[in-house]
Each structure stands twice: as structure tokens, then as C-alpha cells.
Symmetry: C4
Subunit: 190 residues, 4 copies
């Protein structure tokens, strides 16, 4: 099987997930600056989640760019990734309204952790299905960024119960680390 | 007519259907584990429906992979399938909130039954429009999985009025049976 | 310009419009057959609108199939069509909840009328931009179906103020007339 | 990297953004003309935003038409544009319900300003990545329309605090100026 429809379906789901979050930002009843400031936490959580989903779309794009063929297991590994990413709007909405509370922030970290694991499982399935010359094989041998992210996400969950701000700092740090697109894959897909 | 736009439109509808369900999961007002547990039934019904829609997308993908051309009747058979699948979020929402009640679970089974019938009608239209070498023709001759599913769905509707859990067990069993992608079609579409 | 992205964007908008209507069908609070019957009018209006949007998608598909190139005016004629179609969920929701009242049914007829006019304008722009061998040119010379539909829609608006059921009958009749795909175009796009 | 998936993802996001605005138009409770007139301001703000997003989609389409390749920075410049465009439904909803109040209209102007800047940054990244024969290079040298728009948007923000109608007039004027598709790019993409 070719990758065309896998990409099209993933683009569709990611485009929807990235935009439905904005539906959570209800127009405030106050029509002044105070009304706008009320939605500020929801706006900032939307911004962070938009960046995260942008990162996933970018990396997914790079990943499929070097992929030549897919099988049934890869389709399911991809759906598994989309499942966790589709929960980001829910976690964003809960965490955006309650950013000083432990549980919503811990849940946000948990969803990010599961998404990172799902992405890594997708990479594994892609490597398994391609031969030794598959560029991804060489790249993921040193998956430093992936390892750091997963460790930081794991830490962010208990940290949320001490101070939710430290967890939020974790999420921002990982996002900054990833905003730089994965040059290793970009070189191959030129 | 070629299959390109049929696939693109179906991908679009399925991507939307699979993600709008998550809009039903409203951020709980309680910001603790109890609040999260409140949405657990809705979450589990979302998970089940996500898997079902994933199965349909996978099989639809495999089906169109071996298809060379479409006509007007096939476009309508496809729209008919999308219609029933588009009702899954509604049934999921009703059943997720009332999983111990008979009617919502019976409705969920009914929507699954109609989707399965619609999928089978689409297969029939595709076979009718292609010649004898069409791989689907040989495959559907033994459509064991399809037959079992339809029978289990039919049974699940009256069963919901005795005990809704037995119907839910039916749905889970059929899902597991289908999660293994249809190897018969996958072989042809390599 | 080629037609690829015009088709992709139209598919996206139509896929969303056709599925967001289902969001209006809120899970009823009663968990029995009575609760389900409450949503019956909304369900039937959803079914009718789904069929209408399916007809538009089908005909749009056939139309673009015979189109070789587009220009800026065609892009806007297409956006104009998508604008009126995007109002169908709003009209469906209002008419579905108040199917015995004149104004919502008249509005539904008005939106269908404007959509039909917008489709016809799109055809005109496509014909203007192509040369004399353009298949659409020969086909639309006899645009009987288009003319009948527009006349029936115009009639349905005042009729709604006498008896809303006669207008609803008009909508169903036109839908049945169009469900048969446009064989004239289908022949050309083989 | 090729432009295919960038276009597909942008089409998806724009298609969703342009259609979710219609969800804000709730079916009025009154079932007469008065009920319909109640939603008139929301409808007119939807119309204006639909036109704005249509302009962006059209220009984005023309822009990518002349683009041959993209890199990571371009993907992010594009996501940045989509981010501001995704806020248009929120600003539309707030401004549509409070079109006589300063702050919502000023916010609407601010979102339009940021979108225009984001579009201009995307153009810059595309020019930077292509060689001297890139048609966009010659075109944007005289970017009169772009400059006028940005100046008008900047003016519309303080103007909203004197009289919100003058700002609304600004938005309408810029929209009219842009509805004429960018002939300069259209000529190149034939």
C-alpha cells in the first residue's frame, strides 16, 4: 500500500483536532479588556496545544516523506497516535480552565506522554516494514530528543502535584526543543 | 470516473466523524480524579467508537485500493455508508451516558448493523461494476467475518433489553475480530 | 490553474457541512423510545439535508471531472456556492425543530434556492472559461432539471406560509429527481 | 519537500475554520421574521469572515501554485498563518454579538492585522528559499495591496474606540480590494 491516503486521513484528523480547540474559546460576555483577559488562560493553553499539534504534524510529515509503503499494522499504529492526539483538545480545555490545579495538568502531561509513545511505536512499525537502507533506521538509532521528551513528560505528572507551574514549564521546554524541525529527516526528504 | 475524490471525501467525513465525538467529552467541573472518573464511561464509549471507525476507515482504504473505477451508484452506496457512520457520534453520546439502559445500547447496535449492511451494499456495487478478475469478487465469496458481524449485531439489539452488558460484550468481540486488518485484500493491494 | 486544490477544498467544506449537522442531534435525556422519538424530526431533517448535500457533492464531482482548468472567477463562484451550502446546517436545525411553522421552512427553501442559483452561476463561469468543445456546454443547453428545481424552490417559499407540509413535499420531490446522478455528465467523464 | 501535504493540511484547516463559524449561528427560538432578524448581525459578521477566509484561501492557493519546494521554516510560517486565521471564528463571534462595542471590533482588526503579517512572513520565507527567477520575487517588490491592508488594519484598531462603524467600514473596504484575485500571481500560474 502507498502512503497517500494515510497522509490524507492524518492531515484531516490533525486539521480538525487543531481547530476544534478554538471552539472552547467562547466569546466572553463582558465586552471590554477584562472580558478578554478572562479567556487568556484558555487562549494560552490553546497556543501551547496548537504548537504541540503543529510539531506532531511537522514530524509526521517528515516521517511519511521518507516512507515508501505501509501495511495494516502501520495503519493501526497511526490510528493509535491519532487517538491520543485527539484527546489533546479535551485535556487542553480542562487544563486551560484549571491551570493552578494538579489533576488537569497531570492529565495533560499524561496525554502528551502517550502521544510521544504512540509516535515512537509508529516509527518502530515503519522501521520493521522497511529494509536496512531506510533512512529512519539510521536516524532513530540516536533518538536523543525522543528520549528526553518522554522522560520530561513522565516527570511532569508527579511534578503537577507539587506545583503545576513546574509541569507547565516542562511542556514549554519540550515544545521549544521540538519547534526546530527534525533536520535529520529533512535532509533525507529533500 | 476515478476513485480519487471518492476517497478524499470519505477520508474527510470519517476524519470529522472520528474527531467530533471527542467534543462530547466536556471538561469535568471537578478538578480531581473523581471529576475524571465521571467522564470514564463517555471516554470508554469514545474509545470503542474510535476503534469501530478506525476499522471502517482501514477496510474502506483496502477496498478502494483494489478498485479501479466508480460510477454514480457507487457514489451513492458510499454516501449511504457515510450516513450511518455519521450517526455513530450521536449513538456513542447517548450510549456512553446511559450504558446501563437498554434503548441507547440497542440503538448503538442498530447503527452498527446498518453500517455493516451499507458496507456490504457498497461491496456489491463495486463487484457489479467490475469484471470477473476483480479481486474483491473472489474474496467476498467467503465473507465469513461479514456474516458473523451482521448476525452478532442483530442479536445485540434484543439482548440489550435483557442485559445491556451482553450487548456491549458483543460490540467488543466484533471489534477485536476486525482489528486484524483484512489480510485477504491487503495481499492484493501490495 | 488546475482543479486539484479547488476539489480538495470543496471536499473539505462539504465533508464538514454534511457532518456538523449531526452535532445538532443532541442525545435525548429520556433513555427510552419516547426520548428517541423526540429527536425524530431533527433526524428526518438531517436525512433530507444529508441527501441534498450528497446530491451537490455528486454533481460537483461530475462537474469538475469534465473541467480542465479554473481561474479566479471560478474560485469565487465556487466559494459562493459553498457559502450557501454552509448555511444548510443552520436552516436544517431551525426547520427540524419547527417543521410546522412557516418561516423556518420558507428559509430552508430560500437557502436551497440560493444554492441552486450559485451552482448555476458556477456552471456559467466554467462554460465561459472553456472553448466550444467543453462537454458542459452541450449539456447545459437543455438544463431541464436545473430549471424545474429553481421553479419548485421559488414556489416552496410562499407555499410555506399556507401549509409547511406542501413545501416539505416540494423539497422531497426535487431530491428524488436529483438522486439519479446526472447521466449526461457521467457519460463524458468515463 | 514538495508542497502537496502543506496544501492539503492548509485546505483542511481553512475548510474547518470557514465552516465552524456557522456553528455560532444558533437556530433562534422565535420562529418568525423577528427571530431571524435577531441573528442578522451574527450572519453579517459570518459573511464578512467567510469572504476574508475565502480571500486567504484564494491567495494561498495562488501562492503555493508558483512554489516548487518547501522547508521546515516554511511549514512553521504556514502554521503561524493558520494559527491567526483559526482565531477568526472567535473574533467573529465576539464582534458579531457586540458590533457596537469598541473592544470586540478592535480585536477583530487585530486578528486581521496579525493574519496579514503572518501571510507576509510566509511570502518572505518562500522568497528566501527560492532562487532569483521565483515569480513571487518580482511580484512582491511592489506589494501595494499588502501595504495598504496592513496600514488600514493598524488604523482600524484605535478607530474602533471612537466609532466601531468606521472600523467595520475599513474591514469591508479591504475585503473589496482583495476580492479581485491577485492577477499578478494568476498570470504566472497559468
Amino acid at each position: 500500500m502507498k502512503t497517500g491516503r494515510l497522509e490524507a486521513f492524518s492531515d484531516g484528523v490533525l486539521a480538525i483536532v487543531i481547530t476544534i480547540m478554538v471552539l472552547e474559546m467562547k466569546a466572553p460576555e463582558d465586552t471590554n479588556l477584562a472580558g478578554l483577559l478572562e479567556v487568556a488562560p484558555v487562549f494560552l493553553s490553546y497556543l501551547l496545544s496548537f504548537i504541540y499539534l503543529g510539531i506532531y504534524w511537522n514530524n509526521h510529515h517528515h516521517l511519511l516523506q521518507v516512507t515508501q509503503k505501509v501495511n495494516g499494522k502501520i495503519l493501526w499504529a497511526n490510528l493509535h497516535l491519532l487517538f491520543w492526539l485527539s484527546l489533546i483538545p479535551f485535556a487542553t480545555s480542562w487544563a486551560g480552565e484549571n491551570f493552578k490545579t494538579s489533576e488537569p495538568i497531570a492529565l495533560y502531561g499524561f496525554i502528551l506522554l502517550m502521544s510521544a509513545i504512540a509516535y515512537w511505536l509508529l516509527e518502530m512499525q515503519l522501521i520493521k516494514f522497511h529494509d536496512d537502507n531506510f533512512p529512519l533506521k539510521k536516524i532513530t538509532r540516536r533518538g536523543t530528543k525522543e528520549h528526553i521528551s518522554i522522560i520530561v513528560y513522565i516527570l511532569s505528572i508527579p511534578l503537577a502535584f507539587f506545583n503545576s507551574w513546574t509541569s507547565i514549564a516542562c511542556f514549554i521546554l519540550v515544545a521549544i526543543m521540538w519547534i526546530v524541525p527534525d533536520r535529520r529527516l529533512e535532509d533525507f526528504s529533500k
